[in-house]
Every structure is written in C-alpha cells, then in structure tokens.
Symmetry: C2
Subunit: 469 residues, 2 copies
C-alpha cells in the first residue's frame, strides 16, 4: 500500500471508521469504472458526508502530495474515475442531498453525489423529502440520468436528450461549490445568470476532476410546459431517417429532443425487460418531443408528423398518453444497458459529428464494423450531434477486445475527419487522452495544462487524465 | 508620444499609411469610449484589414512590451476601450465581413468588426452580399445591436432581449479565431457543439480583451419560427408590472423576450425620432415576444394576454403586424440613445438582480434617486435579470457628475445586496474595477489574474481593466 498508516489514521479521524475502505478485497470494487477496459486500484477510498470533510481530506492529500480522484457513480466510460497513480478516491456517494429548490430564481442546489434523475424527481414531487409537484424539471438529462451523478455530469459536461433546446450541462449550471487542491472551499457563480470577470464555473465544468472537486452545484431548472407530445417514426433506411432530421430542423420549430436509434440498438432493448414497443423491423427510428401550450405543441407535432411522412417514414405514431411516451423514452434510455442481450461484451463509443453528416457517419461505421468483423449499434442525439456507436465483441476470444478498441479509435478518427470531435459527453479521461492531439495543437494543450496549473500546481487532481502522457 | 518612430514605421509597413493614426487631433477621437467619463489617449491607432495584419502588429507590441487595446465601435460603457497606459489601439472597424453562412451546421462566421445587426441582416437577405432570405437569425441581440460589434459583444459577454430563451453571447458562440499576445493565431472551438478538454472559447468570452484579440467568431444561428407574436402591456404601477413578470414565467411557457421600461424611459424615447407609439401615461410597460408555429404562438400569446390582464395591466395589445411590432421594439432599443431628450447628461447603469426582485430594486433606485436629487429611468431585461438604470444629471453643475457616479455605485451595491451583481453586459472595464471586490474574494481574483497570466504573461493586453488597481 502506497499510503502510510498515519495518513489513513488521519482520514479516519475526519470521516470516521465507517467512512474509509482500505481492505484489498473491498478496494477492488473501486479499481474499475464504467469503461471496463483498464483497472487501477486506489490506496484508500473515502466517503465524506460534507464539503467540510472533503476539504479536510483534500488538505491532507495536498500536504502529503497524494493523488486524489473524485468518484460519483463510477459510470465513466473514459476511465475518468480510475486512480491511475493510486492514492485517495473520494466517493461523493454519501453527499446525495437535494439542499434547496428555489422557484423564485429557478434554481436547485444539490450535493454532487445526487443522481441526475433525483433532481427532477424532487421537482415533480416524487421524493419523500419533496412530496409536492412544483411543475419544474432539470433539463440536462443524459441517457444515464438514472444512475450518473450531477458531479459526474459536470465533470464531463454531459449532453442529454433535451440539449437540442436547453444546451449541455454547462448551460444549466449557475454555480459550483468546489474544494480546491489545497483544501480551500470556494463558491463560483451565483443565482443570477450574469457573472462578471472570467467564467470560473465554465472552466471547471468539463475539466474532468483535474482542477478541483465539485461538492455542490447550483442548477438551472425550468418550468414544465403545458403539453409535451412524443412522436415515434420508423424508417426502412438510415438515409431516410438522417434526411428526416435535417427536414425537421428546417421546419422553423425546435423540438426539445430528437433522438435516433438503429436496428441493432432497437432490437437490443426490445430483447430485455425495458422493451418499450419500438418497431423491431425498422432500420432506424426517430424519437421526438415537442413542447408548448396544448394547441402549440399539437400544431408543432402535426408539422413534425408531416415532415416525417414526407421523408419516407413507413410508420409515424404520436404517443397516446404520457405512459406510452415514457415507455418509448425508457427504452431509448436503456439502450446501452441492453446491449448485453445481443452480445457478450460491448464498448460504448462516444463521438460528435456535424448533425447533418449522420448518414455518412453511419455508412462509415458500417464499413469499419465490416472490416473488423464486429456488429455496431448506433444511438444518436441530434441536439448536439453526439453519436454513440456500441461495438459488440467477445472478450473470451483472444485479441478481440484490443481489436474492438482499435475499431473505436478508427470511428473517432472518422468523426474528426468529417468535422466532428472525439467525445460528446463521456470525456477524454484516460482512454482517449492520446487522441486529444487529433483536435488540439501542442499550443492549445499547453494553455490548458497551464490553466490546470493555476488550480492544481502540485498536479494531485486526477493525474493522468485528458492530457497525452 | 510614448512610441518610437521606428515602431510607427514598422506598423505602417504592416497596414499601410492609410491604416495608422498618429496625429494628436485625430487621436483625440479615440481617447474616449461610450462611458464618457474618463479619457485616455493612445499613442497610435491601427486599422488592420486581416487577422494576419492584427497578428503582425500584436507581435511587434509583444517584442516591445507595448500595451494593446482592441476597439470595436467604441460603445463600451465601462471604459473597456480606454487605452489607460497609452500604447496601440487596434480598431477592428475594417474587419467587417460576414465570411460564411453555413445552414447545414447552423453557424455564421464573421469578422470581429461586424456590427451585430449585420449578421441577422445577412441571414434575412438584407445585405448586398447575401440578398436571399435564408430564414435564420443570430439570437444574441443586445439593445445596442445596431451599433456594437460582435467582437465587443464577445468581450463583454453581452446579454440581449432574446436571452430569455437563447442565453447570452457565450451560449451563442461556438468558436473564436484569436490573436494571442505573442502574435500567434489560434482557432478555439468548432462547428460541432461539443468541445473536449477545457472550454477555451468560454474563458476568452467575457474576458474584456485582457487575454487575446478576437478577430473572427463562429456564431450559432437559429431558424426563424413560423410566427412571432409581440404583446405590449401598460401598467399603472411598477409593482403590478413586476408581478406580471413572475406570473408569465410561471405560466409554463417561455417567451423569447420579456422587457420592462418605466415611465421616464418611455417618455424619453417617445420624445424623439424613434417614438414607437408606447403609452406615455403608463408607469411601466412590458414588451413580450412569443414564437412558435402560427397556432402555437397564438395560443401562447393568448395565455400571456390573460396573465397580463390578471396582473392588473390597464392596456394589453397584440401587434397587428410586424411593422407595428418593429416600431415597439425599435423604440425599446433606442431607449438609451433617447435619454438626451429628457436631460442634458446621463449615465447608463448596468447591474443584474434576481429577476423577481424587480419591484424591490426599483423602489430602492427611486430612493437613491431622491437622495441624490436625480431622475432615474429604468429598462430591464427579464431574461437575465439585467437592469439598466439611466441616471439623468447635468454636467454643467459642478460636482454633479461625481454625485451621479456615486448614485450609480450605490445602485450597484444594492444589486449585490439583494443577490445580484455589478454588471449584466457592459463589463467591469475600468469604471467598475474597484467594485469587483464586492463579488469576488482575493482568492478568486488571484485565480483570474493567473489565468490571464497563462494567456498574457507580459500583461500587455488591455491593462488596467477588470482587476482592482
């Protein structure tokens, strides 16, 4: 073990004996994250209950130059939560309280360990602490929202199905309580939208735990629209579905969500317990939400329906009620988790492309799949052009995992080639750090490294991430 | 003159003799900006025609440690364009081309000297270079959009009447071409929404020329909605108008714009050539846009009308056509420039408050006005809570200007006290740099200073701005 007994004793003094894991077997639970490709074992995992406790642990690490990695639900798909150099993993799991819902200012204050969905649950009166439906929701809703934490969403600047209208995480965060690497606690931002001087909330958001530990977030919430209409369309060709996306964008209305799934993704989810009645025979589906007043949403939904039919959809349906819409969206959001029904292992790819290059990107992914001999399912957020190719492989066959990773890299290089980038929301982390040179020059990376240095001069915050080794 | 003849000759070599001003009389034009309170004369003003020319001038300044201030239209209200230490003013006035309109990616690429309104003009087919109406517009629309430049909007992260729905400038900028202080040219960001690593576009936006010179911007554009409805409501009391703002926000629809003007502001604009038919007898008006499909916008407008009536509006009108709506909005956008019709001099205050504290803020502004003996008009963007108190004074009376500045400071302290901040969109610049300590600790300011140092280690970029002296 790389950390002395004295340090562990100090940590126990801060968080209590039930807040520390040092047992080798128990530590092994924390040696991996959702990326499932590499492992790295921490020396100790700590479960603080307050910002104050986080600050004291960080201060101890600072004084002893021990690496720190913050961890939410551990669902990072880029190795973001891997403690590459050992040291202390600070789990935010116990900091899971919704602290304040402020309708006057349209904000919610939550601890970083709160699951994304819980924020909306509290606003909808679905939590025991907040039993009244306030008519608001939190609009940054990644597909993983039932499991990923707000802290993790902020670390990776996650997208979401509603980002078509509401933007990505950074557009929905107004303030952050952070523990800086020396253990000082600061609050950046505030309840009002405007923030003079440099945008510290913006620079910390998306920095993947390399600058500071976020312990609380002040989130923007939005009021429910009177009506939401959900539309499902099925296509016999991917090209037609791609053309429909363009056509809808050019309608002069802006859907709140516009999502694409291909046949393999549909069949994966329809094979499991989250089956939502999606058409298994479709080559591709689009799932679309529009919102507004009852009359407004109806009118816009009708326009979308017409555009879908004009683009060659062989089936277009409007959800008859929220229950049906929730089944469709539930299926969409469980697409990743359902891949196990169609193959033993998979890699969740994450790239971004110019929205209208979807057909070209899917064609090239098919070619890459054929070249390596892998089936690849695809899910796409039209809002931010974020494409998730799900590469099916079999770990039991020697060398197959490595080839699947190669296929993923080839897909990401293709994304850059057609004008996109190497991640949409899962971060650069450890897995993609060598690819970041595809999109940034040394000069830009040096600026970023030096900005990191402003916050973290000793380099103890999540070392080995983002920047090429 | 603080710059040697050799340097001037070098600059002339870069931009040609017609691109340089060194004559004392001509320089005096550039010794002030829209803040009209302080003056500072540059040693030389340069008018480059390209990023390359900007870069060569900046390189020269870097090698000789000469201060540089970028200048757009010079409409800064915080002294942002004042060359406090002399040196080189780089005017972006000649870099005024719309370079590309890309509907596929919903972006426009423009030079930094382009006037904000020109971007939308080009998209609407109103420019000779782009004569076809493309059905798009640029949604970040500060009140000054007919005169301020995109570069200036980015420097100050300007708000706008549409920021209720579309956010402030930073939410509508996807990429920036920047000249760094050493003369290197870089492009941050890109056409896709997602950007891995640290958010360099975000940190440069709002940095008020203290990090780099923006020479080109890649802007987000949005498609026109089928229909926009404009509603004008008049109130006998400011409190009722404030309550109406809250009521509309809680309707479950989101107007694209929601603006407030008080009686003095109304009467100023109605006294001049931009009179738009606003009711002079009203204590306050609200001007509201909703957009959507024809049916949707109508339905939402009707809801807004009902809410306005329920809040005690004595007059509510829907614009009968775009011409009438444009007259109303034209009057609103000329409110600042019309203050000269009701008093000899005025200060354009700029603070931000929690949106729903509008009645309290206005009451306290009235008290501050009474205390100092000034009339104060008020314009308010409900979208970002940005309040503009326009303080009328008479410069010819000794000491009155100083007392008007004191009144402004008192108003800004009140904004901070009720949970707001010291600027909405006009920046900290020179005039408010001593007030920035009201909202940031030394620690935060030090982080910001060190981030500035990453970009500008020699401190030549817009010295004396943002940070307290």
């Amino acid at each position: 073990m790389g950390i002395s007994k004295r340090i562990v004793d100090e940590i126990v003094k801060i968080v209590g004996p039930d807040g520390v894991i040092t047992d080798e077997v128990e530590l092994s639970v924390y040696e991996a994250d959702g990326s499932l490709v590499y492992t790295a074992r921490p020396d100790v995992v700590v479960f603080p209950r307050s910002t104050e406790e986080v600050a004291r642990v960080v201060r101890l690490a600072w004084e002893n130059r021990i690496p720190i990695v913050a961890r939410g639900s551990g669902t990072s798909l880029s190795g973001g939560a891997l403690p590459l150099e050992g040291g202390i993993v600070i789990s935010l799991a116990r900091m899971n309280r919704v602290l304040e819902l402020d309708l006057e200012n349209e904000t919610a204050t939550v601890e970083a360990g709160v699951i994304n969905q819980w924020v909306t649950d509290a606003l909808m009166g679905l939590s025991y602490q907040y039993p009244i439906d306030l008519g608001y929701y939190f609009p940054a809703d990644p597909g993983s929202q039932r499991v990923s934490t707000i802290g993790g969403n902020i670390a990776h600047n996650a997208g979401g199905v509603k980002c078509f209208k509401y933007g990505v995480t950074v557009n929905n965060v107004r303030g952050l309580r952070v523990v800086l690497p020396n253990g000082e606690v600061k609050f950046f931002g505030g309840k009002v939208v405007e923030s003079p001087g440099y945008d510290l909330v913006g620079i910390v958001t998306g920095s993947e735990g390399t600058m500071a530990i976020v312990t609380e977030a002040l989130l923007r919430i939005v009021s429910n629209y009177e009506s939401v209409k959900t539309i499902l369309a099925a296509f016999n060709s991917i090209e037609d579905a791609g053309a429909a996306v363009s056509r809808i964008i050019n309608l002069g209305i802006r859907p709140v969500a516009l999502e694409f799934m291909d046949k393999l993704a549909i069949n994966a989810v329809e094979s499991g317990p989250w089956a939502g009645g999606l058409p298994r025979d479709a080559e591709a589906i689009l799932l679309i939400d529009v919102e507004g007043s009852e009359a407004g949403a109806s009118a816009e939904a009708n326009k979308v329906v017409e555009a879908l039919k004009a683009s060659g959809a062989y089936m277009v349906r409007m959800a008859k009620d929220r229950a049906e819409a929730n089944r469709w969206w539930g299926a969409r959001k469980q697409a990743f988790g359902s891949m196990g029904f169609v193959g033993p292992n998979y890699i969740t790819g994450d790239g971004t492309i110019p929205r209208k290059k979807l057909p070209e990107a899917l064609r090239r992914i098919r070619e890459i799949g054929a070249k390596y001999g892998f089936r690849i399912a695809n899910v796409f957020h039209a809002g931010d052009g974020n494409l998730h190719p799900l590469i099916l492989y079999d770990e039991r066959r020697p060398g197959e995992k490595e080839r699947a990773l190669q296929a993923e890299e080839e897909i990401l290089r293709m994304c850059v080639e057609i004008g996109g980038t190497i991640t949409g929301e899962h971060g650069v982390g450890y897995l993609k750090r060598s690819l970041i040179t595809l999109i940034y020059t040394d000069y830009e990376l040096n600026i970023m490294r030096r900005i990191k240095g402003v916050f973290d001069p000793l380099g103890i915050m999540n070392p080995g991430k983002i920047f090429p080794g």
